[in-house]
C-alpha cells in the first residue's frame, strides 16, 4: 500500500497534540493528527480538567448555599437530578470537542482516527476502523498522554472501583466512598462527591494531603476536608480490595494495625502512568527514562532526531498547559527556530475548596535546595474583598531573592486562586521585583490586591496589615 506522505504527523489529540497540529498547520506545514478516540481533546477535555471543573462549579453552589444560610439568606435542601447534571457536563465536553473538530478542519489538518504504531523512524502505521493505513512523515510529534494508575491489587474488574475517568461519569452518588490517594485528583473529586452527599473517606499513604504543595497552602484545604469529608486518614496504606456483594471490602493499615472496611465505591487516585506501550517506540531510536517517560531535550526532541515528544508522556508536571507550551517549542524547533523549554515557568492549580495555585519556586523547594529566600505573606483575613466574599480562609505569599528583591515564586490559597496566579507567572517570567508588584496599582476591592500587599509586607509598609520588620532599601 502506498503510504500517505506528510511533513508532520502528530500522534495523540489532547491539549499537547492538537496545539502542536494547529500551530504547525498555521506555520504552513502539512499535518496529519492521529487520535485513537473519535473526539479530540484527550484526557483534559473528555475525562479530566473540563468535566471535573464543570462538576466542581455545579456543586460549588451547594457549598455556597450552606454558607449563605449563616449569612441570613436561607435556602432549602437542594434536589439533585443526576441525569441532568451529567447531561449538562457532557454537553460542555461535546461543544468544546466540536469546536476543536471545526478548528482542525479550518486549518486543513487531516484528522485520522486510529491507533498509531511506529514502524521505524520515518513511518507510522495507523490501525483505523477501515483497516491499516501507513504514514510516511518527515517529523513526528508524540503526544499520547497518560492514564490513571490502577495497581493490580485494586483492579478487580468491578465498576465500583473507579479511577478518575469513571468517577467523572457520575453513575451514582455512593453512600460511602473511599478515595485512595489525597493528591489533587482525589481531593477535587472527593469534594464533588462529598457535596453531592457521599460520606467520603480519603486515605493518604504520606503524612499530608496534596504532597508537594507548601504546608501553609495545603492547610486551609485540609481544614475544609476535615469538615466536609467523613474522615481524612494520613499515613494510611490500602493493602488490598475484594468484591463483597454490592460493596468493596478494603484492607487498610495504619500505625501497624490492619482493619477491613466496606465501601459502596472506591476512587483510586494514586497517580498517572505514561501511555508509552504499544507505540512501537522500539522500532525507533527514541528512548525512555528510568520512570518510563520518553526522554527529550529542551527542544522536545527524543533521541531519534525525527521524533519529538510532548506532554504527559515526557513526564514532569502532568498538566495540559505544560503540554501546550511544549507543543509550541517542538513545532518551532522543527521549523528551525530558536526555541527552548528551558526555564519555562509552569503554574499549577488545585481546584479544591479553597483553590491552591503556585508558580516558580516553592518554599519547600527553596528549603530543600538550601536557597536563601525571604517569604512575604499576606493573610486574606486582612483583605476586604475576601471578607465580603466570606472567604477569609486564604493566603498569598511571595518567595523573594533577598539580594535582588526578585520574585522567584508565588503561592496562593483561597477562593479563585487559580485565576489569580497568572499575575505571579508574569512576575516570575519577567524577572519582576517585589518593588514592581508593590508599585503597580491593583484595583480595590479585589483579591488581586493581596499580591500587591504581600509585596508591601516584604518592604514593611502594608496598608491593611502590620509588619514589624522594615526592610533596608537596596543601595
Amino acid at each position: 500500500m502506498e503510504p500517505i506522505k506528510t511533513e508532520i504527523v502528530v500522534v495523540g489529540g489532547g491539549p499537547g497534540g492538537y496545539a502542536a497540529a494547529f500551530y504547525a498547520a498555521d506555520k504552513g506545514k502539512k499535518v496529519i493528527l492521529v487520535e485513537r478516540e473519535k473526539r479530540l481533546g484527550g484526557v483534559c477535555l473528555n475525562c479530566g480538567c473540563i468535566p471535573s471543573k464543570a462538576l466542581l462549579h455545579a456543586t460549588d453552589l451547594i457549598r455556597e448555599m450552606e454558607a449563605s444560610n449563616e449569612r441570613g439568606i436561607v435556602f432549602g435542601q437542594p434536589k439533585i437530578n443526576l441525569g441532568k447534571l451529567r447531561a449538562w457536563k457532557n454537553s460542555i465536553v461535546e461543544k468544546l470537542a466540536q469546536g476543536l473538530a471545526g478548528l482542525c478542519e479550518k486549518r486543513g489538518v487531516e484528522f485520522l482516527q486510529g491507533r498509531g504504531h511506529f514502524e521505524d523512524s520515518q513511518s507510522l502505521r495507523v490501525e483505523t476502523s477501515q483497516g491499516q493505513k501507513f504514514i510516511s512523515y518527515e517529523k513526528a510529534i508524540i503526544a499520547v498522554g497518560s492514564r490513571p494508575a490502577l495497581p493490580a491489587a485494586f483492579d478487580l474488574g468491578n465498576k465500583r472501583v473507579m479511577t478518575s475517568t469513571e468517577a467523572l461519569e457520575l453513575e451514582e452518588i455512593p453512600k460511602n466512598l473511599l478515595v485512595v490517594g489525597g493528591g489533587y485528583i482525589g481531593m477535587e473529586l472527593g469534594t464533588v462527591y462529598a457535596t453531592l452527599g457521599s460520606n467520603v473517606v480519603v486515605t493518604e499513604a504520606l503524612p499530608s494531603i496534596l504532597t508537594g504543595v507548601d504546608s501553609d497552602l495545603a492547610r486551609p484545604v485540609m481544614r475544609y476536608a476535615e469538615k466536609a469529608f467523613k474522615e481524612v486518614r494520613l499515613n494510611t496504606k490500602v493493602g488490598k480490595m475484594a468484591t463483597s456483594g454490592k460493596q468493596i471490602k478494603v484492607t487498610l493499615s495504619a500505625n501497624g494495625k490492619q482493619k477491613d472496611e466496606t465501601y459502596d465505591r472506591v476512587l483510586v487516585s494514586v497517580g498517572r502512568l505514561p501511555n508509552c506501550k504499544d507505540l512501537g517506540l522500539e522500532n525507533t531510536k527514541a528512548a525512555l527514562d528510568d520512570k518510563g517517560f520518553i526522554q527529550v531535550n529542551y527542544q522536545m526532541q527524543t533521541s531519534d532526531p525525527a521524533i519529538y515528544a510532548i506532554g504527559d508522556v515526557v513526564g514532569g508536571a502532568l498538566l495540559a498547559h505544560k503540554a501546550s507550551k511544549e507543543a509550541r517549542v517542538a513545532v518551532e524547533a522543527i521549523l528551525g527556530e530558536s526555541s527552548s523549554f528551558e526555564n519555562v515557568v509552569i503554574p499549577a492549580v488545585v481546584f479544591t475548596d479553597p483553590e491552591v495555585a503556585w508558580c516558580g519556586l516553592t518554599e519547600a523547594e527553596a528549603k530543600q535546595k538550601g536557597v536563601q529566600v525571604q517569604v512575604a505573606r499576606f493573610p486574606w483575613a486582612a483583605s476586604g474583598r475576601a471578607m465580603t466574599l466570606d472567604r477569609p480562609d486564604g493566603l498569598t505569599k511571595l518567595i523573594i531573592e533577598p539580594e535582588s528583591e526578585r520574585i522567584l515564586g508565588v503561592g496562593i490559597v483561597g477562593a479563585r486562586a487559580g485565576e489569580l496566579i497568572s499575575e505571579g507567572v508574569l512576575a516570575v517570567e519577567m524577572g519582576a521585583t517585589a518593588r514592581d508588584l508593590a508599585e503597580s496599582v491593583h484595583p480595590h476591592p479585589t483579591l488581586s490586591e493581596t499580591l500587591m500587599e504581600a509585596a508591601e509586607v516584604f518592604y514593611g509598609y502594608p496598608t491593611h496589615t502590620f509588619a514589624q520588620k522594615k526592610r533596608t532599601p537596596l543601595p
Binding site: G336, E342, E401, E429, G431, T433
Partner: protein, 430 residues
Amino acid sequence: MDVRVPRLAEGVESATVANILVSAGDRIEKDQVILELETEKAVGPIPSPAAGQVAKIHVKPGDEVNVGQPLITLTQEGAVEKAPPAEKKAPPAGEPKTTRQAPAPEPQKLAQAAEIQPSQYQYESASGFPLPASPSVRKIARELGIDLARVKGTERGGRIGVGDLKSYVEQLQRRAAAPALEKPAAAAPTSVDFSRWGVVTKKPLSSLRRTIGQRMVESWSTIPHVTQFEEVDITNVTKLRKEYGPSWAKKGKHLTLTPFVLKAVVAALKKYPVFNSSLDETTGEVVFKNYFHIGVAVDTEAGLIVPVLRDVDKKRLADLSQELNDLVERTRKRKVSLEELQGGSFTISNQGGIGGGHFTPIINKPEVAVLGIGRSTLKPVVKDGKIEARPMLPVCLSYDHRVMDGADAVRFMTDLVGMLENFPEQELKG
C-alpha cells in the same frame, strides 16, 4: 524566502561555509543540497527547504556563520509565498539592525576576546535561579546566539532589558572590529617550489582534510600520548563467528569482528570508567560519563569520519552489528547527520579490513583514549608447553597520560584481552 543556518546540533551554534554548490540564478529542487557547512566535527550538507530560483547568495566559502543567519535567498514561483516561518517580525525598537547584516561573532570567540578585557562579567545567581530577563529578551538572545549570563542587567534586581542587550552587542562589535591580540605565531610556513625538480600537480586540501588536520594537530600537540600494544588470541571469537555467521547471514546480517570488540570495550570501560571520561581543561575536572557512546573510525573516499554508536551497553550484539553496518554504509555515502558524529566517549579504529599491524592511533579529543585494531594473522603460540598456530589480533590503546597512567592501561588491556579471548556465547543469543 531566506534559507538560514539551521540548528546544527546540540550546543553547536556556528559553522564555517565549506562549499557552495549552487550559483545565483540556479533553479533548484526541494531538498537539493545548496551548500556544505563545516563544524568542528564534520561537514554537513544543507538541503534547500523548498524549490525555487537562487536570487542571492549571502555567504562565501570560509565565512563563519551562526544559527539563524541567512545563507541564500530563494524566489519561489507559482506558489503564493507563505509567510516564511523563520522570518521574525521587525526587531523591537532599540535592537541594532546592524546585527542582522553582520552577525555577532560566535560566543566562544567573544569569550576569548572578553578575557583580555578587564570588565569581564558573568552573572552569578544568589538563589541558583536562572537570570532575570523577560521571555521576549531571552528569545532575542537565543536568536542572536548570545549568552545572557555575560550581559549585565541594569534594571532593578539586575534584570536584563532590551537596552542592556543592545549595548552588549555594540560592545562586542567594537571589540571584534579592534585588531585582535593574536598569540605569537609559530614559525611562519614557507612555500617550496617543487617544480624546480620536476613536474608537479596541485590540488587544494578538501575542507574535510583541513578539519581532520586541525583536530589531529590539536590532539597531538596538547595530549601526551602513550600507546600500549597487546595481541589477542581470537580463536574463540573466530569460532563463534563461524558458528553464528551463516544463520545471521540468512537474515541479512553480517557478523563482523567489530561488534565483539565494541562489547568487550564497553565491559572494560565500565570497570575502568576513567577511560570513558574527558578532561575539562578549563576547570581541571575529569568528567566521567555514565553513557557508552562509541565512535567508530570509518574510511571514506573523502577521508576519515568518526560516526558514533549510541548506548552500546544497552544493545544486543545482533542489533549492534546491524546498526554498525548501517552507520558505516551511510557514513561512506556521507549521509550521516551531524548529531550522529557527536557525543562519543571512546573511539575504536579498526584497520583489520585493510590490513595493518600495531600502530599508534591519535586520541579523538576530548576523549581520553582510543583503541586501534589491526588484522589478525596466524602466529605460533606456546600453549601448554606445545607450539600451536593461533589467530592473533594486534590491538593498541593510546591514552591521555594526564588523566591515567601506564598501570591503568595495562589493567584495561588485560581485561579487554581476557574478555575477547573468552567471549561469552550468551551475547550472541536471544
